[in-house]
Point group: C2
Chain length 180, copies 2
């Protein structure tokens, strides 16, 4: 950062999302990262919740339930059990919040909701983890709402053959087209 | 958020910090949250690192080493050992980064550094945890640098009688002045 150490590469997904919103804030959905500092802060709170509370147990479950079977790695049953318990507590909080507001940060779809889509996509695709989400009525309604958006369905359609129909490992092993 | 559900209260410390920076970005230190989206993103990456990598083990250590003795709660030795191991790995990454740049996000003190101050303050005050920080030369240099800033020394002076001289529990039990 700064004149003496210019930094061009960003590696952290939430920082990249915030950057894109900051950089292109005037284009597209103006609610995505809020229209003023207070709306932005409300979104930041739920991006933080995703990063610190939702992501740890959900990414463990995604790895254990979606990836290990295809990678022929033994599942860690203790990690699955612990993560399910943690995620259930997190989703209880989410369900209460989503009983009050349509989306996590308020009345509008925002970066707060968007940041949950990737892991939630895999959780809902897993028969073992999906009930955690679908048994919370407001979480289930919220998930149906955000996952049915055209802007999410579009990339998922492209992912489907490889990543939602049981061919994860093959997709991961396939060389990148531009290096093939 | 928004017209139908105005949100006035923020509870999450990093969201509050970002809000203050956004709201008062034109005043004071212009580097605190970056001068453009790319600088801001670089800072966000390290605020994320603090929240997700540094905070979990360091807050466990702060609670176990600084608070439990004064609260007469038994220390969890396994949690202390595990957190020290995790924190050591995090500080290895920090030390490499701080070998390249003076501060975490580059050449200027920013919210990325600031967000580490509270937990680092307690870690450095603990004979049991301090060596984790002081044994990493660049982390030690960075800590001396950021903790010697007037803007940090000022609140620490006020904290000292209660929170750095062995009277944590008394301070926590003392009723809030306006309800006393």
């Amino acid at each position: 950062m700064g004149a003496r150490s210019p930094r061009k590469n960003l590696d952290q997904s939430r920082a990249i999302c915030r950057y894109v919103c900051e950089k292109h804030g005037e284009k597209g959905n103006r609610y995505l990262y809020g229209r003023n500092p207070l709306e932005k802060a409300s979104i930041d709170e739920w991006v933080e919740a995703e990063g610190q509370s939702f992501n740890p147990p959900s990414s463990t479950l995604v790895f254990q339930l979606a990836f290990t079977p295809r990678m022929k790695i033994k599942q860690d049953e203790a990690a699955i059990k612990q993560s399910k318990e943690k995620l259930a507590k997190v989703l209880d909080v989410y369900d209460k919040r989503l009983a009050e507001t349509r989306f996590l940060a308020g009345d509008h779809f925002s970066l707060a909701d968007l940041s949950h889509l990737p892991n939630a996509h895999y959780l809902l695709a897993s028969p073992d983890a999906a009930p955690l989400c679908t048994s919370s009525p407001n979480v289930a309604r919220w998930w149906n709402d955000i996952s049915s958006r055209h802007s999410w369905k579009k990339p998922v359609v492209h992912l489907s053959p490889a990543e939602t129909h049981g061919n994860l490992l093959a997709a991961r092993k396939k060389p990148c087209p531009n290096t093939d």
